[in-house]
Structures are given as structure tokens and as C-alpha cells.
């Protein structure tokens, strides 16, 4: 096997690369299938070719990135972070909805040509930046105040994407943030306290449940004994969010409110997002064990299935390849995450370890939210499925992440735990 020996000589993490290639191939096949519908639509029918072209480009970029070093990547975190924040600001002024929702501005385009979503780059840049900031701290943060730096790093792009608004990417940022804090050694009690206002916000809709949660939180604070000011702040923050949740609810845009309500009961909006979710469940459910056959899904062909090539592409997998296809796709994702987690735990330094874990976390949130959405386990927030959903900029960024992981893996091979994991 001359090819594999070449890879081995180059210290390439062959399983990781193979998994990513399989996922991308699988994804492009599904994008191709998504274009096979009964009423001809040239726009979607050719999407798989564009996706393939971008994949080719992605491989080139990947090769370039793997030529560099982890130190170079660490160095580039700052400029990338600054650039992506600048782009996020820019997109608020000149961004377009790109046909998804009129009020949403996620896309940068020049002369009508869409260049991409800065939020995708921001996820990568923020992960690297956060890894850098957390790696620079000698001790794991011991109090909430200690967390101000990482929270600021995540907070700036988070606020900017929420301003678009892009709830899905916002959730990904939160996922990255918590996962990396956890990986950096922050104690779980601290993480719970950090998350508590957000949890209060959700639970506030049921006074009883919120009450129970609040008592548990108080018990946690008394037991963990943070600084008095911190404890007070956490408690107060929870009371405030618990009380103002209904007010915040009113501040949400109607379509956002609707999406959250539809998550609870898809039948309330059968012509809008509830329809999407219902049709998606029908498509997946009717796929059965073996599916209706590649390109043969009737829900897809007859266009009952919305957003077939982007957000709901996993429904096509479910309909056409059945439970076996779904299991295969999920197994590939699980393998990717396990392998990447291994890369993170074997990295030779704090930065690469944290960066690797952050990338896993970002993908993980994407997969859980997107796949969960197709079965109405998650609200419809419109975030794509890595390697599957059609979208050049996302595919490119995903492959850069693969490249970073490959590089980290190459440098960390056989090294002992770098940050005392």
C-alpha cells in the first residue's frame, strides 16, 4: 500500500481522514439525490457538482493547512478572530437573507454573488481563539470572575450572530464555550452556575419546575461555596431571568416565538415550520428499515420535504436509506467525534488539545441540533449538517477543521497528556 505508507510517513491520521472523506462522499451523494425530484429544478439538480467542486478546493486548502504547524495555527488565531468579528459586524450592515428569511442577515455577497456566511468562519476562529486564551491560563479557572476572558472571547461573536439573528449558530457558540471550559478543567459546579440563568430562562415557563430548579441551585451554591458576591450574582441572575423570561419572550420576533412553539407542537403551524417538521418525520418514518432506495424517496421527489439539500438533508437519508443508512451516517459521525476526541486527549500541548475538543464540540452541536430537528427532538433553528448539507463555505470550514485536527494529530502522536488530562 504505497499510498497509506505515504500517509504514515507524513504522520497523517489515516482513520480521521478516511472518516471525513466517507462523510463528505456520503453527503455529496445525498445532495445529488436531493436534486432528483419530479418537477425539474436546475438550481438544486446541479448542487452536487458545485459541492464537489468546493470539496476539491477544500482538499487543496486542507493540504496547505496540514503543511503548516500547530504553532502557526495558534498564531493565526488572533488575526482570524479579529477578521471574523469584523466580518460579523460587516454582515450586520451589508448582509442579506439570501432568500431564507427577509429579516435575517447572515450572508455576505458582492454584486449578487454570495460569498459565504461569516458565522461559519467565526465558529472556527472563536474556537481557536478560545483555545489560545484558555491555554494561556496556567490554572483552570476557579471562579466565575476567572472566566471573564474566555467569556469575552465567545461573547463578542455570540452577540454579533444573535444580532443577525442566527439562533442556531448562537447555540453552537454556547456549546463550544461550555465544552472547552469543561475540557480546560473548569469544575462542573461552576459550569452549572454559569449556565443557570439560561436554564432559568427556559424553565421559567413553568413556575413549579423553575421553583424546584431554583432550590437545587441554591443548594448547589451553599455546598460549593463560591465567593459571596458570585453566589449572590448567580442567585439574583436566576431570579431575574426567571421573572423577565415572559418579557424576553415578548421581545422575540414572531417567527422565533413560532419556531419554539412549533417545537412543542408541530401541528400549530402546519403551513409553516410545523409542516416542515411533520413532513420530515413522515419522510424518515416511511423510510423504514431499508429505505425507499437511493434517489427514490417519494416525499423528497414530490417536494413534500422542505430544504431537501440543506437543513433537512438528513431526512432524505432517512427516507431513502432507511434506518440502516441513518445508522451508518450516525456511526460515521460518532467515529469522527471519538477519533477527534482521541486527538484532543493525545495532543502534546494545551492549545491543540483545547482547539481539537472545541472543533468536536462545534460539530457535535451541529449534528445533534440538525439531526434532532428532523425528528422534532430539537427546535427548527436552521443549522446545517456538517459534510452533508449543501453549502460551500460551511464545507470549506469543516475541512479546515479536519485539517487542523490532522495537524494536531500529527504533532501529538504518541505524546503524553499535555494539560494534565
Amino acid at each position: 500500500m504505497p499510498f497509506t505508507s505515504v500517509l504514515r510517513r507524513q504522520s497523517i491520521d489515516f482513520p480521521l481522514l478516511l472518516i471525513a472523506l466517507l462523510l463528505t462522499g456520503f453527503g455529496i451523494a445525498m445532495v445529488f439525490s436531493a436534486g432528483q425530484i419530479d418537477a425539474p429544478s436546475t438550481l438544486i439538480a446541479g448542487a452536487w457538482k458545485r459541492q464537489s467542486a468546493w470539496f476539491a478546493l477544500s482538499l487543496v486548502v486542507t493540504w496547505v493547512v496540514t503543511r503548516g504547524s500547530v504553532r502557526l495555527i495558534e498564531w493565526s488565531a488572533w488575526p482570524l478572530y479579529a477578521l471574523s468579528c469584523a466580518l460579523l459586524v460587516l454582515v450586520l450592515f451589508v448582509g442579506t437573507g439570501a432568500g431564507t428569511a427577509a429579516s435575517v442577515k447572515g450572508w455576505l455577497s458582492i454584486g449578487g454573488i454570495r460569498l459565504g456566511q461569516p458565522a461559519e468562519l467565526a465558529k472556527l476562529a472563536t474556537t481557536l481563539m478560545l483555545a489560545r486564551v484558555l491555554a494561556a491560563q496556567r490554572e483552570p479557572p476557579r471562579s466565575l470572575v476567572d472566566l471573564w476572558r474566555p467569556l469575552l472571547v465567545v461573547g463578542i461573536p455570540w452577540l454579533l450572530v444573535m444580532k443577525q439573528p442566527d439562533l442556531g449558530t448562537g447555540i453552537v457558540f454556547i456549546g463550544i464555550c461550555f465544552a472547552m471550559l469543561f475540557w480546560a478543567g473548569v469544575q462542573w459546579q461552576l459550569l452549572v452556575m454559569l449556565a443557570s440563568p439560561g436554564i432559568s430562562l427556559v424553565l421559567a415557563f413553568s413556575t413549579g419546575i423553575w421553583g424546584a430548579w431554583f432550590l437545587m441551585l441554591v443548594a448547589l451554591v451553599l455546598w460549593y461555596r463560591p465567593y459571596l458576591a458570585e453566589g449572590v450574582v448567580v442567585i439574583v441572575a436566576n431570579v431575574v431571568t426567571g421573572v423577565v423570561a415572559p418579557l424576553l419572550w415578548d421581545k422575540l420576533k414572531p417567527y422565533q416565538q413560532k419556531r419554539l412553539l412549533v417545537f412543542l407542537d408541530p401541528s400549530i403551524d402546519m403551513k409553516g415550520s410545523g409542516y416542515h417538521v411533520t413532513q420530515s418525520k413522515v419522510a424518515i418514518g416511511s423510510g423504514g428499515l431499508f429505505g425507499q432506495g437511493f434517489t427514490q424517496g417519494s416525499q423528497k421527489r414530490l417536494q413534500f420535504l422542505p430544504e431537501r439539500h440543506t437543513d433537512f438533508i438528513f431526512s432524505v437519508v432517512g427516507e431513502e436509506l432507511g434506518f440502516l443508512g441513518v445508522s451508518l451516517a450516525l456511526a460515521l459521525f460518532l467515529a469522527l467525534f471519538l477519533r477527534s476526541t482521541r486527538v484532543a486527549s493525545r495532543a502534546n500541548d494545551a492549545f491543540p488539545s483545547l482547539a481539537a475538543f472545541g472543533l468536536v464540540a462545534a460539530w457535535f452541536v451541529h449534528v445533534m441540533v440538525n439531526v434532532g430537528m428532523t425528528l422534532n427532538l430539537m427546535p427548527v433553528t436552521g443549522i446545517p449538517l456538517p459534510f452533508f448539507s449543501y453549502g460551500p463555505s460551511f464545507l470549506l470550514v469543516s475541512w479546515i477543521a479536519v485539517a487542523v485536527l490532522l495537524r494536531i494529530s500529527a504533532e501529538g502522536r504518541g505524546q503524553p497528556d499535555a494539560i494534565g488530562l
Binding site: 419530479d38 418537477a39 469543561f182 475540557w183 478543567g185 413532513q279 418525520k281 413522515v282 419522510a283 424518515i284 418514518g285 416511511s286 423510510g287 423504514g288 428499515l289 417519494s298 416525499q299 414530490l302 417536494q303 413534500f304 432517512g318 432507511g322 434506518f323 441513518v326 445508522s327 450516525l330 459521525f333 460518532l334 467525534f337 471519538l338 476526541t341 482521541r342 484532543a344 486527549s345 475538543f357 468536536v360 457535535f364 445533534m368 439531526v371 434532532g372 425528528l375 427532538l377 497528556d417 488530562l421
Partner: protein
Amino acid sequence: MRRARVARGLLFASFLALGAAFFRAQVLESAAYALQAESNRLREVPLPGARGIIYDRKGEIIAENLPGYSVSILSPTEDSLRSALRTLSQVVTIDSAQQALAVRRYRRAPTRPAVIFNDASFQVVSVLEERRVEFPGLIIQSAPKRYYPDGEAMAALVGYTGEISEDELARDRFEGYKAGQQIGKAGVELEYEEQLRGREGSRFVEVDARNRVVRDAGVRPDVQPEAPPPLRTNIDLDLQKYAHDYFADSLRGAVVALEPTTGGVLALYSAPSYDINRFVGGVSSAFFQTLLSDPHTPLVNRAIQGTYPPASTWKLATAVIGLQLGLVTMDTRMEQPCTGGYYYGRVFKCWDKRGHGDVTLAQAIAKSCDVYFYQLGLKIGLNRLLAGGVKLGFGEKTGIDIPNERTPTWPENTDYFDRKYGARGWNKSVALSLSIGQANNAQTPLNMARFYTALATDGRAATPQVVAHEPERKQILDLTPEQLDGVKLALADVVSRGTAAGARIQGLTIAGKTGTAQVPPLKDFAWFVGYAPADEPKIVLAIVIEEGLHGSTAARVATKLMERYLKAQLTMTSVISD
């Protein structure tokens, strides 16, 4: 490595949960989702089944099916139906009533294509086919259309078909019917709906998310519609048509012809008539209004719904009751000979002012002497007269197998008069009027014909049957064979010595009784009820001509009809009398 283990554990747990959710949806609940997917994309388009053909006794067609086209539209919502109708109306004429009807049809059954035209012209169909792409969801298909080759002759008998109404859908009888289906609305079509109903087939078309028909689905096999076996009736189409031809347009009245031993309905006609073909596929409201507002009430089926005083045709009933009670024989004379009238509180006139003199019962029947029957009626007495009439079947429907027969008027006992006029509001002289077929006695032509089937045979009255079943006969005459022969002889004698010689038909013996009913303020109605041939009856016929003035008018028509039916066996001379 603790954190790595926690992370791995979380990963496994999350994927296990996802996998379980997919397992549940795709393996455990897959069938339900598959069904939902099918109902998403497959639309059942009903293929109307042809109704059973209706034949007459000789195999002539009374009702058949012609090829036709229906145009309907599949819509996901009422709004889209409305907009489709708007677009369609730019190409073909759809008036607002039709549009409203289509919307109503949609509301009743949103998953079925809403019918726009039940019976589209070929021109409409070709225009629509040509521009098919512009109209997603449009369904044009063949729909057999009911046709009655002799529609005007058949109106009273065969009924017609139409789209099932909301009221009818709610009835138990039409359980399992769906909105938009055609059902029998009257006559044989309604009575024998269950036998005539064609089994609806269905076709499946595959539609996309916008309800555009993508293709005929090969997934589920189409179910071909089926027509039931034909329905054979007792009708003699030739006689029926002849009756229609013979009733001039200006006449009102009815004809019923029965087979005496089986009750088979040979003809049943009501004039004026109308063409039932105009009711097929939905009657136009203008035409329906014309029929409704016509003073001659063509929508009333006079043969089974018109009740008229039977006049002299009823005298046979009085005679039979008297004979049964043993009060008279055919040779009995009354105390008072006929001098043109009879005094009972006041003078009751005989139709012949000159008087018939001293007559026997046989002669009284022959000459239709009112005075004789006044006295016979008094002899019988009101109570026995009423009871006798009830026993002869004058108070009830015949039970013919077509709907909406009217119950004739015959008082079951004297309570009837108390109820109607008050206890002191009437006196026993009503017996006199009743015994000559006037007063509170109103019979349908069908009921009179049924009574005469008993006279024509062995005293058993046959239940009239449009469709051939086992004959049903009921002994209503309680006469000895001698008495019955006497009555028959008298009926034949009636004829040989009678006054209606103008209606005579060479070579045919006809026994019958004319009647002239007084229906103030209208002119007299003409009755004839009789049978032929007199010695071996093959046909019993009752006829009423409203404002026909004299029974002989009816007799002339009746003999012509009988002759037509019996033309194969003409041997005897015939005489008719009042």
C-alpha cells in the same frame, strides 16, 4: 483522562438516544408514517360506476348509460379551489352557481376531487385538455351518464338520478355513500337504488406538494368500476309509450295497467309528463322552476299520488259488500224502482233523470243505476259499508314498489266523520254518496286497478309490481264462485248493453266500468277501470282523465290501450257501457 471518559460517555449516550429515536420512527412506527406518506402523495379519484340497465318485460331498454365526461379539480385548500375556479372560468363558462356548488362539494369531501361539471360537453373537455398544464389538479374522466330513451313516457315510473344531497347523505339508507355520487331520486331508480347502484371504482394519482398531478400511480392498482346486473321490469314499453302518445298534451290524468294474476305493472303513466333526461346530472333550476310553477303539476305522479272520487267504478265494491253480507243476489230488486231519484232526507238524483225502472243488481251494474245503489248502501248500513271498503283495500296503499304512493281516502269507521265534521256535523245519508263512489272516498288509479284484478280473477287482488318478484295476492273478495261469476257477467253485460258503444273495438271483449266523478269546481273527471279479454283477462287497466267530462272519454282511450296490448289475440267483439 477522566474528562475524556466523560466526553466519550456523553457522545455515546447522545448517539444512542438519537439512534433510539430513529429506531422508533423507522422501525417501530414506520407503518404509520408510510401510510401518512402515501396519503400525502396519493389521491384517490373516484371512478363512477355505471348504474344497472333497466329493461322492460321484452328486453327493451328503459334506462341505460351513455358515455360522458366529468370535470373535477383536486385542491389542497378551499382558497386554491377558488382561485382555480377563477382561472378556469376564463377559459370555459362556469356560472357563479356552479362555482358555489363546486365549493360546497369540496367542503363536503375535501380529499375527493371537487366536481365542476358532472356532464361536460365534448367542447369543454377538448378546450380544457388542450390547456391542461395551466390547471394543476384538474381531472377529466369519463363518467357514465344516465339516459332514458323514452324519457317523457317514463317520468312517472322510472324516476331519475341525481347527485346525492346533504340530507340524503345523513340518512341510514345511504350509509356508505359519498358526496358527489349519483343516486336514484324517484321511481324505480330510487326504489331499486341498492340493485341499480354501480360499484364505484377508484384511480390513484400521485400528486406533488402543490397538488399537481405528477402521474397515475402504479403503486396501488386501480379498482375498476362495476355495473350491477340489469334490472328487468314488468313494464311493457310499447304500451307505456302508447299511453304517452295517446294522452294528448293538453290532457291531465293517469293510466295504470296491471297483469291481473301477477300484479305486474304493464304501464304506469301520468300526464302531463316531462323529459326525465333533463334531470340527469343535475336539473337546471330554471327547468325545475317551470315544472314547479306549472298549474298542471307535472311533478305529481297522478297514477299513485292523484286521488279522485272513483265514482261509478266503485259501485262494484258496494255490490260485492252486499253480496258478501248475503243481502242481495245478482237478481235482487230494491223496494223502490228508479224514477230518476231517491228521497232520503232530500232527493238523491240518479245520473239518468229518466230513471232505470225496476232493475236487478246485475242490471243496476249494467246501467250504473244510482238509485239502486243508494238503497243497497242503506241496506248495508254505514258501518258495514265502511268496514267492507276497508277489507277491499280502499283505505290503504297498494304497496307498489315505487316510492311516494299516496294513501287513498276511505273512512275506516264513523269516527272519521266525527273527527272531520264534528259529532253532529254529518248524518247517515253519507252512506248513499259513499255507495256510488262519491263523498269521502278518493282513490288512486292504481288502487282501483288493484281492486279490479280481484274482480278479473278469482277474487284475489294482486300487489302491483314494477319489477318481477314472486306474485303477491290477497283474497279480498269473499264471494262464492257463482257470485263472482255473476259479478263478472254483470261487468261484461254492463258493456254489452251500455252506452259507450263508441269505444267498441272489433274482435275484443272488454269488461269494465266507466265513471264520471264530480270534483267541483272543476269539470267532471272521467274514469274507466276494466279488464280484457272479458273471459280470460290479460290486462287490467285503470284510467283517469281530469276534466274528461264523461267516463266514455276515458273508455275510448282505455280500449285503445287494451287493444294495443292484446292485438295479438283479437277474436271477439267488444262493447262498452256506462
